[in-house]
Symmetry: none
Subunit: 211 residues, 4 copies
Amino acid sequence: MFFEIRKSDSMSRRDRERLFKRNEILNASLRIFAEKGFKQTTLDEIAEVSEYGKGTIYNYFSNKEEIYTAIMEEVSFIFSSRIKEIYSENLSVFDFLTNLTKMFFEFYETNQPVFLLMVRIRTDFIESDALNKSELFRCNHTETLGLYREVLQNGIDSGEIKPIDIDNFITFYRGALFHFISHSKHNGNKNSIEENTNFIINIVFNGIFNQ
Amino acid sequence: MFFEIRKSDSMSRRDRERLFKRNEILNASLRIFAEKGFKQTTLDEIAEVSEYGKGTIYNYFSNKEEIYTAIMEEVSFIFSSRIKEIYSENLSVFDFLTNLTKMFFEFYETNQPVFLLMVRIRTDFIESDALNKSELFRCNHTETLGLYREVLQNGIDSGEIKPIDIDNFITFYRGALFHFISHSKHNGNKNSIEENTNFIINIVFNGIFNQ
Amino acid sequence: MFFEIRKSDSMSRRDRERLFKRNEILNASLRIFAEKGFKQTTLDEIAEVSEYGKGTIYNYFSNKEEIYTAIMEEVSFIFSSRIKEIYSENLSVFDFLTNLTKMFFEFYETNQPVFLLMVRIRTDFIESDALNKSELFRCNHTETLGLYREVLQNGIDSGEIKPIDIDNFITFYRGALFHFISHSKHNGNKNSIEENTNFIINIVFNGIFNQ
Amino acid sequence: MFFEIRKSDSMSRRDRERLFKRNEILNASLRIFAEKGFKQTTLDEIAEVSEYGKGTIYNYFSNKEEIYTAIMEEVSFIFSSRIKEIYSENLSVFDFLTNLTKMFFEFYETNQPVFLLMVRIRTDFIESDALNKSELFRCNHTETLGLYREVLQNGIDSGEIKPIDIDNFITFYRGALFHFISHSKHNGNKNSIEENTNFIINIVFNGIFNQ
DNA sequence: CATGAATGAGAATTCATTCAT
DNA sequence: CATGAATGAATTCTCATTCAT
């Protein structure tokens, strides 16, 4: 499960239970949102999958959008954290992107719905404008971009990579990667994470020209 | 406008008018579908934007899904045609992908909603299963893939490009390109079509490594 | 066809044509009303079956209800006439009802939709209150009842039949007959008109008791 | 009211309440269906008469047809049960039909809408094909017919009644009876149940011939 | 007159949210 | 808190009727 209690020490039993149930609802919702999108997902379904009453859900979230936002914030937080971790290792652009790519593939492997949901947000950003309202979400996004930029700028400065337009490259790379991952299963891709990672990294760093 | 009367010669005035109005409805729907997606789009809105009564819409299409399908079939047909044209010039992989990339950028420039809608389908394929039912749509898709494959295989055989996994490359390339284009405006990309095309082609063919 | 031009002599060509077309519409409507009832029948269907444009129909009738009323008035008129004919022969109750019964069976044979429609009215009398407004319809009904009553009263007076409650008998007899005829096909009844007539007349006049 | 809770012992309060409300909806619908027929009846009206919100109705039935089917199944079940009871007394044809006739008159007296609805089904069988789908309904019908047949066959074998065509007689008798009852009020029939029963039974068993 | 396109009032159905228990 | 019944606003779709050509 994606939503799990992590720092339960400092909480009262009541608070822990509350958080636990809240997470159960989020996990159920996550799966359905990922599969169907925001509008398509009904509260009846969330209630059924989460095995709580429909009314109960409203004790934890004040409306459907809030559930979606909570998920997206957590998702963006997790991704942001993972990226930060990799960033903190002070790697070359090549190693940074290799690790990043591997991390996304692994994430897909273990948390497919979360990943698909993230991809979906990038298209659906209009379906629910909750995200635009979410300070946290935008903040994570901006912060992450900053890390990417820094690594790439260093790579350019050190001569590791060509002096490309950084922001465009980020758009390009993330689009390619997320799309590739989310369509890989559908397209019958049977390669291992390493093979897929190498495939992408190879293209991006060396190109497909022979020589 | 995307839907326009092309071969009106052989039609009666009545038929031409009917087609014209049908196209008006399609053009209006297209914009809204592109912006909001299938489920989000209401018939009231289509009626309002197309400036017809709600009932009138149903004189041209038997339900909402049929409008969506009609659009998608036309969109897929147009893209398929453009790709075929480029393919028929018997170009090298480099020139093929360069022209293709330019074509997609140009398409975005002149028919932004159509392009966005196409991108949306790739995520939304669940929202409406109309597409799965559309023989024409699937057919265009398969045919297009065949062209890609042939060009790439020739490129590999002739030694122009490395012996990459063709299907994975197609997934990668299309994902990258479509995502890049659809996010370029949102990301403040001010480059010309040529600049953007070169940017992408350069990465894909030469990589970002410095030498 | 049920609606046919009968007295066309005194009419101008224009009037004859008008009447002819009006009848075509009525004949088409009749079939559909008989099969589906008033509400279920759409003007689109009437237009299609009658092979006239929807608008044309409104040149002959000012609304759907008027078509229905026109049919009902004609139907009630025809039945009323047939009953009058039989009545005018001054028959015994036995012969009167025998002829009447035979007539209804024959009518069903040649004009099944008309007959079914008539039966339907007896249940549907609420669906369209047109009938309540139709003076002619009520008039035919009353007149017919009068004939029945007279024949039966004469039969009672002459000692042919028992002194039964006349109005109740009429209700009973008509209900039985109409229901029997309209369900006969559905129930797999393969008897000839004579056999069916005898069957009913026999029960009504002699009863089913053995002796 | 027609729908009432009968075996509430084994149910929880919640289930009892749910059943109670479901019955309220059915009773309201029954009246309207009887008066107007299936198509004519709107959910707005059912909601209004049953004094529930329109949405509430959908918590108990998944669509309008299901309400109609539920009613028809119950109606057919009740009638079937009553007929079985009378059948189980092993009566002569005369007593069987007398009791049956009385039962139908009594039923009309206490549950007029239910009776009218039943009569309506016999004409409307096309309006909603729900009935064709209802196994239970067809089953009750077939079973009931079987009882009629058995009683009549015994009557023929024992010499009580003439050797008539049984199926045709059933069609005749039921048509006559149902029509008579449903039109009696409308026709100003003021007789008691006994008088009406005797009237019909007398005709059917002894005929109207004077000796 | 003939036509069929245009229309909107009306009907069924869905679903987020409220609320009494 | 937990629950699910109640609700009505919103949505899709139908169809009698009008009207311009």
